[in-house]
């Protein structure tokens, strides 16, 4: 059962290794599951699904971004299993419910309840309804009873007042911990912020000491002097700085307008992160000229050949664009929508890629749509698959690819 669970986790993209899986088995094997004092005091079962869920999550998942995926797999895999642990539904603290209800009932109502067969029957009824409702609501993340639609309302009090699954009934709550998917928004393919982008870009940083050795290396001097038992040995080093150089090509206008925000964020993050950052704009695809200032894009253009000559091979080349256009704009001479191009875009692209062997393309379009746009497929082929989505996770992959 657990091996299947392990495989499912891996299939869902939670990076679990065998070491971690074995660690989980080890904890389980110890028999006395490391329980919290609180649960023990409450005198509940020594082993519950809830505890197993938390334990498994602690041991197997190493990043809160993956909590959501874990929850989904857990819910799917262990659906129904909780019955095997018995204590869940059966142990809804009936006492608690009773006490709470008694407090809210008038004598008249109490008499009515007695007529219906007494507390136990009523509780049984409630439990049955709960079970039914659980089935019905399983797809969503809704609390049993909070919707106010519970048939229990027929008896004249609002289930909302009972608040099943909120305050008192911890067991009840536990069943649903993983169904709530509270970590849904921490999945890393969703949000982009400059700080996060910076962190992703930071992967590219290469600190290097270059140039003249003009700084006194104090630590090195002391260290080597001491090691030589007092014979002064001065060391000098060049200044340390981030040596990565980046050449950024940004697609502007047209279909890129809807991605402007993401691109701006990327751009502002990149500007502060790299000391050597050069950028050029293009529209849809690169041809014989590019430009640096969008306001003067028709008057001040830089020939692409000049760019090719200017920057040495150790620059990292990053394209940002949706690559969504007519395929003719890539493969056909004269295919550009703005001007007559003597050579097809693909030829220019090959030149760029040959000049800077470290290159990636960042695409703000969602990855699953790439398959269906011929121009994206063409571009990917040109780049030998080095196209990544413009999400944090994609950026991370791209930076790894550039290293």
């Amino acid at each position: 059962m657990l091996i299947r669970f392990f495989e499912l986790l891996r299939a869902a993209g939670v990076p679990v290794s065998i070491t971690e899986f074995l660690a989980l088995l080890e904890v389980l094997e110890k028999g006395t599951l490391p329980f919290s004092a609180a649960t023990a005091e409450k005198g509940s079962v020594p082993f519950s699904v809830e505890a197993f869920y938390w334990l498994a999550r602690t041991v197997l998942v190493k990043d809160e971004r993956h909590y959501d995926r874990f929850d989904r797999v857990f819910a799917a895999h262990f659906k129904g299993v909780e019955q095997a642990f018995e204590a869940i539904v059966a142990d809804i603290p009936a006492e608690w419910l009773r006490k709470h209800l008694e407090g809210t009932l008038s004598d008249e109502e109490k008499a009515k309840i007695a007529a219906l067969g007494g507390w136990d029957k009523l509780m049984e009824e409630l439990r049955k309804r709960l079970a039914e409702q659980k089935g019905a609501h399983h797809g969503g993340n809704k609390w049993i009873g909070t919707g106010g639609t519970s048939p229990f309302g027929a008896y004249g009090y609002n289930p909302e007042g009972i608040r099943i699954g909120q305050d008192g009934s911890r067991n009840r709550r536990a069943v649903k911990v993983w169904d709530r998917r509270e970590f849904a928004n921490l999945d890393d393919s969703v949000e982009l912020g400059t700080r996060n982008i910076k962190l992703a870009l930071r992967r590219l940083r290469r600190f290097a000491r270059q140039g003249a050795a003009d700084q006194l290396d104090l630590d090195g001097t002391i260290d080597s002097t001491a090691r030589k038992a007092g014979l002064l040995d001065i060391h000098m080093v060049p200044e340390r700085h981030n040596a990565v150089k980046v050449l950024l090509f940004l697609d502007v206008g047209g279909s890129m307008d809807e991605h402007v925000r993401a691109c701006e964020e990327l751009f502002s993050a990149a500007r502060t992160e790299f000391k050597h950052l050069e950028y050029y704009y293009f529209h849809n695809f690169v041809y014989e000229s590019v430009w640096k200032d969008n306001a003067r894009r028709y008057s001040e253009r830089t020939p692409t050949t000049e760019v090719l000559r200017t920057y040495p091979h150790d620059y990292k080349l990053i394209f940002v664009g949706d690559a969504s256009m007519s395929p003719y704009e890539i493969v056909q001479a004269g295919g550009s929508i703005e001007h007559w191009n003597e050579e097809p875009g693909a030829a220019w692209m090959r030149r760029l890629l040959a000049t800077w062997p470290h290159h990636v393309w960042l695409n703000p379009e969602p990855e699953e749509r790439w398959e269906w746009t011929p121009s994206i497929r063409l571009t990917r082929e040109l780049l030998e698959d080095r196209m990544f989505p413009l999400t944090l996770e994609g950026l991370d992959r791209a930076m790894r690819g550039l290293q």
Binding site: E20, A23, P34, A37, R57, T58, V59, K62, I222
Partner: protein, 289 residues
């Protein structure tokens, strides 16, 4: 491990731990694995280690990481400068290099005769390679001192608690050796317990109003730094010191009043600015035309 198999961490009178956190700590203690703790700033990550040490009656060694920290510093350092000075002064100690090996936190935790709690605080502040340099040390709980050719092995595997603020990603190989727990932001019920632990005599009404105002501020969209537990505690302390009546915190429309002393909750000027603007806009919108 068996010696302390019966010792369990279950929160303490000054620290409220959720069930899942206790479970995570106890699992890590049982298997002798490091426990990696993440969560919003101010949710008590660092304090956890102190509380674990107190609850289990273990000595605590704290290793606070800075951007310049090296993994080696946690193991030991060779104090070359002292040795140089001693050699100039003709001290006899100079002939034994072991006199100049200064043990770091990890070594001291390893060497303690009792099982110790070791806190490695804010590991994400250090260089990206830092965690990788500690793999073997945390896995086997041993390391080698090259200067003296000595193998240091832990007498008892210390309980290692590592905190991170997510500024850098940690390498997979490192993560695989740790257990992991993300401290969620406490819900209202837990928050009430936390406040009760810190301010036992607090009036119920003031507490309810303060929590209400606090969660409303947290829900303001676009805040750069949402106030967290530690800010709430500071704020309540201030409210008590200034003797603010609970009525002052209440408002019919959640956004029309600025709670008093909000400087304790909002930590940067953009947030304060945003907040005041929202309040202003709502006031204007709420005014009968």
């Amino acid at each position: 491990m068996s010696a302390d198999g019966n010792r369990r961490f279950g929160g303490s009178d000054s620290y409220v731990a959720t069930d899942e956190l206790m479970l995570a700590v106890n699992a890590a203690v049982t298997l002798g694995r490091p426990l990696l703790i993440k969560g919003e700033p101010g949710t008590g990550k660092t304090q956890l280690a102190q509380e674990v040490a107190r609850a289990l009656e273990r000595p605590l060694f704290e290793w606070h990481i800075k951007s310049t920290s090296k993994a080696q510093q946690g193991l030991y350092e060779y104090d070359a400068v002292s040795r140089l000075r001693d050699s100039q002064l003709g001290d006899q100690r100079v002939h034994d290099i072991a006199n100049y090996i200064v043990p770091g936190m990890l070594w001291r935790a390893f060497d303690h005769e009792q099982q110790a709690v070791l806190l490695i605080d804010e590991i994400d502040k250090a260089d990206i390679e830092f965690p990788n340099d500690l793999l073997r040390e945390l896995d086997r709980m041993e390391f080698y001192v090259y200067e003296t050719r000595q193998l240091v092995t832990a007498r008892q595997r210390p309980i290692v608690i590592i905190t991170s603020n997510n500024e850098k990603e940690l390498p997979d190989a490192f993560l695989r050796r740790c257990f992991f727990h993300y401290i969620r932001f406490p819900d209202t019920a837990t928050m009430e317990r936390i406040v009760a632990v810190h301010f036992p005599g607090l009036k119920r009404q003031l507490l309810a109003e303060a929590l209400g105002a606090f969660y409303r501020i947290r829900e303001v969209p676009g805040l750069k730094k949402k106030p967290s537990t530690s800010e709430l505690l500071d704020w309540i302390k201030l409210l008590l010191a200034e003797d603010i009546p609970p009525e002052a915190l209440r408002s019919d429309d959640p956004k029309t009043t600025v709670p008093p002393l909000y400087g304790a909750l909002l930590k940067n000027e953009q947030d304060v600015h945003l907040f005041e603007q929202l309040v202003f806009m709502h006031r204007r919108a709420g005014r009968p035309s």
